[in-house]
Subunit: 346 residues, 2 copies
């Protein structure tokens, strides 16, 4: 008999913050990005399926499973744009990594913070492969919960150190300025989206409205820009005018999911797109010339969460940033579940 | 701002046992069965989808989500028949109930024990609607972790008080006899499956082999018997000879799932079956006459887990059988996730 088969390590929100801070936010993003990139490179070894979504008038609850045949991971994540009215997060998440050979969970962790980190790390991985060389200035349109993570990921991976922030609510931009103070950015708070994109090498759109919005129109996007479209991530929720899509080279995570959830839901179902993993693996070209407009139409995919779960599990060893959770029934004799219950009475 | 938005109640294995014992196993099964039956009756109000399964050579990991538009529930469950060799459970599970209006989890709970209880409660609900009147004797073929729960559920709901137990491993039957001692059963340990079914009004098959097995052959099943087939629950795993299926009136939970996973995977895809919920709701007939053979081809469905999650949540109020889990990030200002991280450093 093995000891403690009932126990699953659990990373609470508090412990996730401690883990991230003990490593350092930028170092964490860099390490996580390496896992994301590794898993994209071995894309074909994953069981892939579009997320399993339960939609309601208020939002969506999704399960995002994947497996590489050795480990299995899934994330529970909600998206409820009106949540902030009640002091709740638009997006919260938790996830589990499990051992395929016996089905036992290996890790249960908060993933609200971890999703923010993996989304930013994935954006920066894409940016490194797709943006023009020498990019230093990024516009961020939508300055909510994801904004600072995007800024730091692009700084850590690409050296972005100039930010142009815009949000319809100026207090959101001011929050970003406060939070990013002393972290090495030259920041301009823009008066409009047009102002924000002025001179930016990379434009990140990360707004939260669940509706067809037009954060960027065609005339706002100049030659050579890389667009990192993060906010459009479910049916009916887009951020870019369709004309931009037609001018850009489009890169996506998993086409069957992105065609439903991404910006390209506005385009015909057979519109040509390239898969990010193929660029990373060297099978497809990324940016062809400096004047091209590239677009990473990001919706978030299960392999990225899998990478994040693997990364956390590997970094957790030797730390105290987890608790033991009594999650699995572990009778002395496996067939004697009822006997365990009886003996608990005694 | 509301207090403790970060906290999700968590029911550990230890607390689940305490909760079950504080209510009493039979009372718990009866209460749970009422929830299962209620949810079957309002079947059409549920979002239904076949489970999302990840198969490997060793077993399967599944996610089983459903929602009634108010609450959302899912279960993580594995099935690894060879696990018992390493002292692990064949099936372990945990689950989450969440609020559809904001996507926040309301409950995280162990579901290994709870699944054993809900499976047995569902079998007994079906038995009450389908077995011949006056049934008192049940054969149980396969005396593993589920056997005692089946026995007690049929006792609590139908008054079954005579058991005929058979397992290829006699020590499994002996374990059942020990565990059920003093609980009001007259028990015969059978020398063979043929011996076990002799005189039984109800035959429950609940073996664990992941292969096409033939636990029951056609000549073993007499007129009037109700078969409760629990063990055949994934592709390639069946327990009954196809000839029995052709003689029986077949009742299932959710046909699209049962045709893949249940005993009826052996039959043509359009073979007529009836849905248990329609019998419970009075829309379809159950047993037509005492000589008929009825078969509940049970594979387990997400609504049953949903019922179990609801039941536990309702019974948890006013008890101390849960812990507070710091699962959800809850920044003072919802858009300020990064600021929360920064302040944790201070």
């Amino acid at each position: 008999m093995q000891p403690n088969l009932n126990i699953v390590p659990f990373v609470s929100v508090d412990n996730m913050m401690k883990l991230v801070l003990s490593i350092g936010v930028e170092a964490f993003l860099t390490g996580l990005a390496a896992y994301v990139e590794d898993d994209f490179r071995r894309w074909e070894s994953f069981d892939k399926t579009p997320r399993v979504a339960s939609h309601s008038a208020e939002g969506v609850i999704e399960l995002m499973p994947t497996s590489d045949g050795v480990a299995y991971g899934f994330k529970y994540v909600n998206g409820h744009p009106r949540n902030t009215r009640d002091g709740r997060q638009t997006v919260t998440a938790f996830g589990v990594l499990a051992d395929v050979s016996n089905g036992y969970p290996l890790l249960l962790t908060e993933m609200t913070i971890l999703t923010a980190l993996r989304t930013a790390a994935t954006s920066a991985v894409a940016g490194r492969h797709l943006a023009a060389k020498g990019a230093r200035c990024m516009a961020i349109i939508g300055n909510g919960a994801q904004a600072e993570f995007q800024a730091l990921a692009f700084k850590a991976l690409m050296g972005i150190d100039r930010l142009r922030l815009y949000d319809i609510d100026r207090t959101a931009s001011e929050k970003c300025v406060r939070n990013l103070k002393g972290l090495g950015f030259d920041i301009h708070v823009a008066a409009s989206a047009e102002d924000a994109v002025e001179g930016a090498d990379i434009v990140t759109t990360v707004t939260a409205d669940k509706q067809y919005a037009t954060i960027l129109t065609d005339n706002m996007v100049g030659a050579g820009v890389h667009i990192n479209a993060v906010g459009g991530d479910c049916p009916g929720k887009t951020e870019l005018h369709a004309d931009i899509l037609r001018r850009a080279q489009i890169f996506v995570e998993y086409p069957p999911q992105t065609r439903i959830e991404g910006e390209i839901q506005q385009l015909p179902a057979d519109y040509p797109v390239r898969e990010l993993w193929r660029v990373i693996a060297g099978l497809d070209a990324g940016r062809a010339d400096p004047a091209e407009i590239t677009l990473f139409d990001s919706v978030g995919f299960a392999t990225e969460d899998f990478s994040a779960l693997r990364f956390v599990r590997d970094r957790l060893h030797g730390t105290q940033f987890y608790e033991d959770l009594d999650l699995l029934a572990d009778p002395d004799e496996p067939r004697d579940l009822f006997g365990m219950l009886l003996r608990a009475a005694a």
